[in-house]
Amino acid sequence: MKDTIIKTSMLTKRFGDFVAADSITLEVGKGEIFGFLGANGAGKTTAMRMLCGLSIPTSGEATIAGYDIYTERELIKKKIGYMSQKFSLYEDLTVSENIDFFGGIYGLSRKDLAEKKEALVQNLGLQAHLKKLVGSIPLGWKQKLSFSVAVIHDPRIVFLDEPTGGVDPLTRRQFWDLIYTASSNGITIFVTTHYMDEAEYCNRVSIMVDGKVVALDSPSALKTYFKASSMDDVFYQLARNARRSE
């Protein structure tokens, strides 16, 4: 694989007796769209939070963009973007103010920020909403805005935790267009989802069951291996024996 950007080895997180993420070993290459699948409670969010430096692993190793996740967390943070499952822009600030704020805390210069904002607004067609409070715009817009804000500082990797929950198919399609554009600009995408049609859009996917990664390959290879017609089917075969689920 050319340029590995995420590399983990036996990465484990325990909460007391509960092993939320168990010995996760994987590599993700530069510019790749990596799907991180699993049922609810399989441990996806836990694993992702460790990679973002929001949570310290119990054991195992990992490097993100060449930095160690134990000792160089603050360096990692400059290189990554993150969009959490819970919508997390400030609802009581306007679209424009949110962009200014998040661009600002990543240290973008005034000039860069103005250019980025202009491009972003053009791209998403947000001109009319710029002065509106984020709390008042539709969910679909919020999510697209969230993503654009997460990549505003040109991170090497962007982590997306179930980014398309609760939006309509058309918006999801538009959202994936944004992902493709980012990917073609060399940004690595690490995305969790439980929409199996979205899994088909990924270059490679891993499937987690009960805290472990049980399959990792491109969607077509996985379908061939499991003799399945769709990713849905692959997932069903793997996940039906899961002990943990909500």
């Binding site: 360096l75 943070k77 993150y82 959490s84 600030l93 600002g104 805390i105 990543y106």
Partner: protein, 359 residues
């Protein structure tokens, strides 16, 4: 530096966007400062007196008249028996009963002394104590005496014994504390609850920058509330600080850091706003009750006075009264300043340490 400016701009935008909170932060203290001192009047006056005069002589009448003339007592009932008078105590119509026995005057002249009964509703110990003392003093004065030691009382700093003058600086201290403490305690928790803190935590923002970004806006807000308070107490109560206003602001500046530090510390400990509010309230209650606003710290038992040493509010209340009413100078406030600065450093350091960007 730029990061801090960006953080500040965001906080101010959020504060000014929420008009109802802003209005409350500004208007509530004004109303409270106007109303509370009027209500918080501890002076014991208008004690309701029930008299049972079983003698009905000229001398007993003179005694009763001199009691009423003292101005502390109001004649609430004039009953014919103690039993009747007791009923007025039960229904709270009277606070105390003066019972003059039969043959009061003739006994007095024959034996040179005569007892009178005073029965006091002592549920409110203070009122009972003072009421009893006033009544005894009046009766004692009524006795003719030979050697008299006259004492001239000189009341410094507040010659008219105006209780409001005493309460206003204290109440202002409490209001500044409450506003600063609660707003800062709720702030970080709110970001936790809405999830925006995650977005901050994955960014390369420094912990102390983030805390500073939270501290400064509320520090400014606290100063504004304090200024409004000073203006209100001048406009409504005519209170002008005897001492240096600069000294007051200097102290408030350090004090606010301490209170906001406490709020932010609580905020980093809690998961929900409800929890933060409740925990903050718990501390506030102890601080206010034991801050010497209502009852003098000197009268507390030893252990309680030890506790008060760790109560930032008690330092502020004391400084406010010293500077505003007595005109005390910086040299006399060194201990207060050092203690408060100590709180500020420790609490804020703890808040920065306890704010974890990871779980």
């Amino acid at each position: 530096m730029r990061t801090i400016i960006i953080l500040l701009r965001k906080e101010f935008r959020q504060i000014f966007r929420n008009k109802s909170i802003l209005a409350m932060v500004i208007v509530m203290p004004v109303i409270q400062l106007i109303v509370l001192p009027l209500a918080a009047d501890y002076e014991v006056k208008n004690i309701n007196l029930a008299v049972v005069d079983n003698d009905r002589s000229a001398y007993s009448e003179r005694l009763v008249n001199s009691i009423v003339a003292s101005g502390y007592f109001r004649m609430a009932a004039y009953e014919s028996s103690y039993k009747e008078a007791f009923k007025s105590i039960e229904t709270d119509k009277a606070d105390l009963i003066l019972e003059i026995p039969a043959h009061f005057e003739s006994n007095l002249i024959r034996e040179g002394k005569q007892k009178t009964g005073i029965s006091i509703n002592a549920i409110n110990g203070v009122k009972a104590n003072l009421g009893g003392a006033y009544l005894s003093a009046i009766i004692r004065d009524f006795n003719p005496s030979e050697t008299v030691i006259e004492s001239a009382v000189l009341n410094r700093y507040n010659p008219l014994l105006n209780y409001r003058v005493f309460m206003v600086p204290g109440i202002l201290a409490i209001l500044v504390t409450m506003i600063g403490g609660f707003l800062s305690a709720l702030n970080i928790v709110k970001e936790k609850e809405t999830g925006t803190i995650e977005q901050i935590n994955v960014s390369p923002i420094k912990k102390h920058h983030f805390i500073l970004g939270k501290l400064i806006p509320f520090w400014i807000l606290g100063n504004i509330v304090f200024t409004i308070g000073l203006i209100v107490s001048w406009a409504v109560y005519g209170i002008v600080p005897e001492g240096s206003i600069l000294l007051l602001y200097g102290f408030i500046a350090i004090y606010l850091l301490a209170v906001l530090g406490l709020g932010l510390l609580v905020s980093t400990f809690c998961d929900t706003q409800q929890q933060a509010m409740f925990i903050m309230f718990f501390f506030m209650m102890i601080f206010i009750l034991m801050g010497g606003l209502f009852t003098p710290v000197d009268s507390m038992p030893e252990w309680a006075r030890m506790v008060v040493r760790f109560n930032p509010v008690s330092y502020l209340i004391s400084v406010m009264r010293m500077v505003i009413l007595k005109g005390s100078e910086a040299g006399q406030l060194v201990n207060h300043l050092l203690a408060t600065a100590g709180f500020a450093v420790v609490l804020n350091a703890l808040a920065v340490v306890n704010y974890k960007k990871i779980s």
